[in-house]
Symmetry: C3
Subunit: 128 residues, 3 copies
């Protein structure tokens, strides 16, 4: 079977837990070598990065405690190949400094464009 | 025209009514011979099966009254070819015994994998 | 690059603002000549058209003030090529007269069928 490809779209903060559980279940089911996973984060969901800190201020782990474990889970998933892609428009809308984002995150000009382009490349779409 | 193919994804209980209305409208519009419909149920939405009973306890109709009419509608839709596919991870998460599920339901290891695979096969995706 | 194609699906009124922001960001990012955008409106989201008036009653601008600016935004988007497609089943469900709809809207028998067909034609799907 060819490699599976999927976009997870998240635009509400209260869906983070579900998204991460879904991804974990998918990886456990098919194995990390058999699926390309990209998470596109836009709208209000980018606020998970809101309590981020400037690199000069701390060692990078000063996120709010509620978000901390989610961010740790995201980082672990990124280490097994999951891509986290964040919308610049949404970051601006919430006055979040791109420099404060975790290293494992990629910023794109518009999250919606990313979702359209990836589907055109054959990625499935899931909105958890 | 070739046969249409579509996955309906439901992961929240409060969307059941809408999902079933959507499917009914689709069937009325194009006819049951012209569309393949699969409903993938995961997350919290599997709780519709929570009040199910063991086959030894009743004749199979002892679901809670609130869910009963929805389950009856689902059964009728299954009789005209709609597939209902339920995520095993989600059932385990809610301690729902697979043996208590209605006969018309199919269980898969991970609902998310099913959604990705079906889209790779050309199914459209709808999240009502 | 080939032209991008995308369906935005809206079935809840409280998502209108987000949908219109998403579309605006997409157009700003790729340019209106490089993307085909269709918005499929069904379910409760058709209620944005509820305070519409008969052409005989007013000049077509007597929608409720809360919805007015959204409808104006929609009209402007329609002028740069965005298609707004509304589900007849949903209009009937809310007793909305088709004749009261703004001119830039197209009515289809079933919004869900439209979504399935467009994806079969290669359109991406986004549920904001």
């Amino acid at each position: 079977m060819n490699e599976l490809k999927v976009i997870f779209h998240i635009n509400e903060s209260n869906r983070w837990k579900i998204v991460l559980v879904n991804i974990t279940n998918l990886l456990n089911d098919v194995g990390q070598d058999n699926v390309n996973i990209e998470v596109v984060v836009n709208g209000e969901a980018v606020s998970i990065f809101k309590n981020g800190c400037q690199p000069t201020e701390c060692s990078g782990s000063c996120y709010g405690s509620t978000n901390e474990s989610l961010l740790e889970q995201m980082e672990k998933l990124s280490e097994v190949g999951v891509n986290f892609v964040v919308c610049r428009n949404s970051l601006k809308g919430q006055s979040i400094d791109e420099n404060s984002l975790p290293d494992f995150v990629t910023v794109v000009p518009a999250g919606i464009t990313e979702i359209v382009r990836k589907q055109a490349e054959g990625y499935a779409y899931i909105k958890p």
